[in-house]
Amino acid sequence: MIRLISFLLLLSALTNNVQCQQSDFKHIDFKIAEGKALQMKGRELYNVPLLVHNLTYNLKTDVEQFKAIYLWICQNIENDHSLMQKNDHMWLKHKNDAKKLDLWNTKFKKEVFTKLLKDKKTLCSGYSYLIKKFSNLAGIECEIINGYGKLSSSLKKLETPNHSWNAVKLNNKWYLCDATWSSGYINSKGLFIFDYNDSFFLMDPKEFSNSHKPLNQNLF
């Protein structure tokens, strides 16, 4: 019930506040937050509460704390191509069989978390999971949104949900962000290259919707 209420609140917040974007925080100097993310570079994920404490300690505003969290995740967690291919394959194979998909997800989830913990490598859900976990530990409301994401070609071509991102509540407004796409890209050799892209941090929802379509369409 609580989940339903919070989801409905999130839904109404997102539909009402279409103006929420990065420029709302133009007056904030993110230098200290950036410094904190840099200071914690290379840390492991074995003790997330401590990492979050170190990332956000002494940062006065929620948006600064969230920026430190977002930067650290984008600059320390790698995309894993093989995990994605494996998952895509199974989603296509079982797209009409919810039971099998559920069984696959339960098994695959364990593999994803183990890889994240040991190698700091993951796929979209790992990023959005970390963004939510870190934010919640810092006392910031944050939700995972699953859906369809495509940057270069039409969103309509996608058969199964392929992407995951976040909505985060800052100063009582909900904002959107995509840590997976902010972190970097896969080059022609199939290797991940860290290349932080700030445009997916609290992106204008209108622009965001060009490349992101949530499973629950009512969100926009």
């Binding site: 074995y46 003790n47 401590l50 191509h81 994605m84 895509d88 989830k109 949900p161």
Partner: protein, 134 residues
């Protein structure tokens, strides 16, 4: 004569103040001695003891982690209403308020419920996106 009387009174005042202070210190100490204590516990998930879960005192960088048997002993005495966060990747974090009962904590960690999906950006995606937006 007058001066001497004052001095005596002053001495008496100082002595009573000192005694009051001493009394207060003792009382405060004994109160904190009653409520501050070593916190121990066992952390487990549905398969059994959970190793390497971290236990952090909220708002600080003081922590410990669970051993192979899922057991932990917090390195510092905690007092009533202190909050500890028990955490492990892939599980729901738990915030626990230190209560009055003096027995080991039993912490059950629930699996994090999540549907795994994933989509990556290729170099071409980035190039065409940048070309469009520059």
């Amino acid at each position: 004569m007058k001066t001497q009387t004052f001095t005596k009174r002053d001495n008496l005042k100082a002595l009573s103040l000192f005694l009051l202070f001493l009394g207060l210190t003792l009382v405060t100490n004994s109160i904190s001695a009653q409520t501050e204590r070593i916190i121990t516990g066992i952390v487990s998930d549905e398969t059994g003891p959970l190793e390497k879960a971290t236990v952090l005192l909220k708002g600080t960088n003081l922590f410990t982690e669970t051993d192979k048997t899922g057991a932990f002993t917090f390195p510092q005495k905690l007092k009533e209403n202190d909050v500890i966060i028990v955490s492990h990747l892939g599980f729901e974090d738990q915030e626990i308020k230190v209560g009055t009962k003096n027995k080991p904590l039993n912490v059950f960690m629930a699996d994090y419920s999540i549907v795994i999906v994933g989509s990556l950006l290729t170099e071409d995606d980035i190039k065409s996106y940048k070309a469009k937006n520059d």
